[in-house]
């Protein structure tokens, strides 16, 4: 999962991003609305955390303009404000959920995972493809009921493929959503990661579609 954190308080930004990174999420931080605007328009994210109290103008206005330009990435509002009118303004601008400061990292994580899952049209917190089960809340992949140990990068690739199934995921998309913006890898790096996953989960678990990308093997086809 790749996330943009828009938070002007450096201490909070640092602590929250490191807490989230520990769970395997790629977090990119910006402090101002205009920086965020640039990032949102040029990079791909699964979810955005937006602090309503940004110093350079109203966060709600930025959100509104992003939605206006067709950005459909789910947005979690972070607010110190108690007023419902402010939260309501955030929602009408296109926010998807909110967390009030002070929050516990677990709550933020819970909301983020639910939002990402929803954005891929998965109603249930557990996504199942064949023998594979991804518990989006626990961040745990199981194969035939057995937990699979994955690196953060491997988990992100599987998360993307599981969320996207049965859609084909291009190398480009995998690169954009599972690596940090400044470190997008060559396509053969992704090939290497995919073959590692095949070694862990079985050779037929991921199929390569030449020139189009990767897809989890449809269980109906293999049986």
């Amino acid at each position: 999962m790749k996330l943009l954190l828009v938070e002007d308080d450096q201490a909070l930004s640092r602590e929250l991003s490191s807490a989230l990174e520990e769970t395997g999420i790629i977090v990119e931080c910006t402090e101002t609305g205009s920086d965020a605007d640039f990032q949102v328009m040029t990079q791909s994210y699964d979810v955005i955390i937006l602090d309503l109290g940004l110093p350079d103008g109203n966060a709600v206005t930025w959100l509104e303009s992003w939605r206006h330009r067709g950005m459909d990435v789910p947005v979690l509002i972070l607010t110190a404000r108690e007023r419902w009118s402010d939260k309501a303004a955030g929602f009408s601008a296109g926010a998807d959920d909110y967390v009030t400061k002070p929050f516990e990292t677990a709550e933020v994580l819970f909301r983020l995972r639910a939002l990402v899952r929803r954005s891929h049209n998965h109603a249930h917190p557990q996504i199942q493809v064949g023998n594979l089960t991804l518990d989006t809340q626990l961040g745990q992949l199981t194969h035939c009921g057995m937990p699979v140990s994955l690196t953060a990068q491997e988990y992100r690739l599987m998360e993307r493929l599981m969320h996207a199934f049965p859609r084909i995921v291009s190398r480009q998309e995998l690169a954009e959503y599972t690596y940090e913006s400044d470190h997008e890898p060559d396509s053969n790096v992704i090939d290497v990661q995919i073959s590692r996953l095949r070694r862990k989960l079985g050779a037929t678990i991921i199929e390569t579609l030449r020139g189009r990308g990767y897809r989890l093997t449809d269980p109906g086809d293999t049986q």
Binding site: L12, L16, P74, W84, A88, K101, P102, A106
Partner: protein, 447 residues
């Protein structure tokens, strides 16, 4: 409520009526009296001149030694019998009288000088009599000459005058009253305009009073406007302060909270409970600081419109959290609650329901006889009666992992109390919680 004071209108009207009822009759009586006096004087003078005419036509006949009946010119009524107009001359030996007296005689006043007096005539008429004692040339004894005229002739004049007087006074009274009514209408027009302005401000059609008024009232309207503006700016300022303080305090607390997440369990739990206490205190006091409470001129606003942004937000939130939600708000209900206060109360309740609901939550608003009832219902795990009673106490939370759930209810309850309303928690039909918030139609301060 204190006894209602009479309106200015009634005071002025009563004062003026009293003046009219007092002054006009008194002046009427005075006028009438003066007129009567002058009529009487004129009548007496006329009688005296008639007396002089009678005197002038008297001549003593020395030969016969008697007074021949004089021929009094210019007054034919002396010849008409019992006309009330009489003369009489009383000498030592004989008494002669006008033909009108026939064989009656007037009684003589026993005095020497000029006498004017009232007497009763032969046919019961009230007469005015003028009598004088003279000594004619050739006579050695004085004679008494009397002229009498009926008082009813001036009485008629008096009556006529009085009638005219009272009619004119009555007309004058009516004109005065009409003028007064006009004066009241015109003079009090600015007051009425302030009154209707106030009504407009109360209804929310306008946010300030018109100051295009007479000099006596411009100051008042201006002061009123300044109070209204100050009221609004005070609320705005304290809300701004509360906001800034919230932002300034909560971000560092959030940092500490995130750091605490990495500590050993025992340390983390202690630190997090302290953080929650700080958060609860901040939320509680700032929500009070930001509350406007019932204002002097609570403007009624449409309830559905006021809650619309909130409902949109919750609908989106429910959709994202995969919950069903229902909002049943009659379009016709209007409230005099400050819109932000109302959003705080309803927002906290619905937020709580959205937090606990397992599949659906709803808000149902009903107009009841004693106010407006907001029912916020969820299908969550619910609470025992004791827990429901305890949960609204400040800072008490049922589940430490669901931060601030009880606090939202306590805030809503405090705000409701500010408006003279109340909040109760009940067991919902399907096991969850039903929060019942009641707000009176006319908020009254309960601070």
């Amino acid at each position: 409520m204190t006894q209602r004071r009479a309106t200015i209108h009634i005071r002025m009207l009563a004062g003026a009526c009293l003046m009219i009822l007092l002054v006009l009759p008194v002046s009427g009586v005075l006028l009438s009296y003066n007129f009567q006096q002058s009529i009487h004087t004129a009548f007496d003078e006329r009688l005296e001149s008639l007396l002089n005419v009678v005197l002038a036509s008297l001549e003593y006949d020395r030969v016969k030694g008697s007074l021949p009946p004089p021929d009094v010119p210019g007054e034919p009524r002396f010849s008409r019998i019992f006309s009330g107009w009489y003369w009489q001359v009383e000498g030592p030996e004989q008494t002669i009288a006008s033909r009108s007296l026939w064989d009656e005689r007037l009684s003589l006043a026993d005095r020497d000088s000029l006498v004017r007096h009232d007497a009763i005539g032969p046919n019961g008429d009230r007469l005015r009599v003028v009598q004088r004692q003279v000594t004619l040339p050739g006579m050695d004894q004085p004679i008494h000459v009397m002229v009498a005229a009926p008082l009813h002739s001036i009485q008629a004049e008096m009556d006529q005058f009085n009638q005219l007087l009272w009619v004119s006074l009555a007309v004058l009274a009516l004109i005065l009253l009409a003028g007064l009514a006009m004066q009241l209408h015109w003079g009090l027009a600015p007051l009425r305009s302030i009154q209707s302005d106030l009504a407009h401000v109360e209804n929310g059609d306008r946010d300030r009073l018109n100051t295009d008024l007479p000099a006596e009232l411009t100051g008042l309207a201006g002061a009123m406007n300044r109070v209204l503006e100050r009221d609004q700016s005070l609320i705005e300022r304290s809300r701004q302060t509360a906001d800034n303080l919230a932002h300034a305090l909560k971000t560092p607390i959030a940092v500490i909270g995130t750091l605490a997440g990495r500590l050993r369990d025992d340390q983390r739990i202690t630190l997090q409970s302290e953080i929650q206490r700080m958060d609860a205190a901040i939320r509680h006091h700032l929500s009070r600081a930001a509350a406007a409470g019932p204002s002097a001129l609570g403007t009624p606003r449409n309830l559905a419109e006021t809650l619309q942004p909130l409902i949109q937000g919750f609908e989106r939130l429910a959709q994202r959290r995969q919950l069903e939600c229902n909002f049943i708000i009659p379009e016709t209900i209007s409230v005099r609650t400050d819109p932000q206060d109302l959003q705080e109360m309803v927002g906290n309740l619905v937020d709580n329901a959205a937090k606990w609901a397992s599949q659906h939550f709803k808000l149902v608003v009903e107009q009841s006889t004693d106010g407006i009832l907001f029912r916020v219902i969820d299908d969550g795990p619910g609470m025992s009666a004791e827990a429901r009673a305890a949960v609204m106490e400040r800072g008490v939370k049922l589940d430490e992992s669901s931060a601030g759930s009880g606090l939202g209810l306590a805030i809503a309850r405090d705000l409701a109390a500010l408006y003279g309303g109340d909040l109760h928690l009940e067991q919902a039909e399907d096991g969850g919680i039903e929060a019942r918030l009641r707000l009176p139609d006319r908020p009254h301060s309960h601070d």
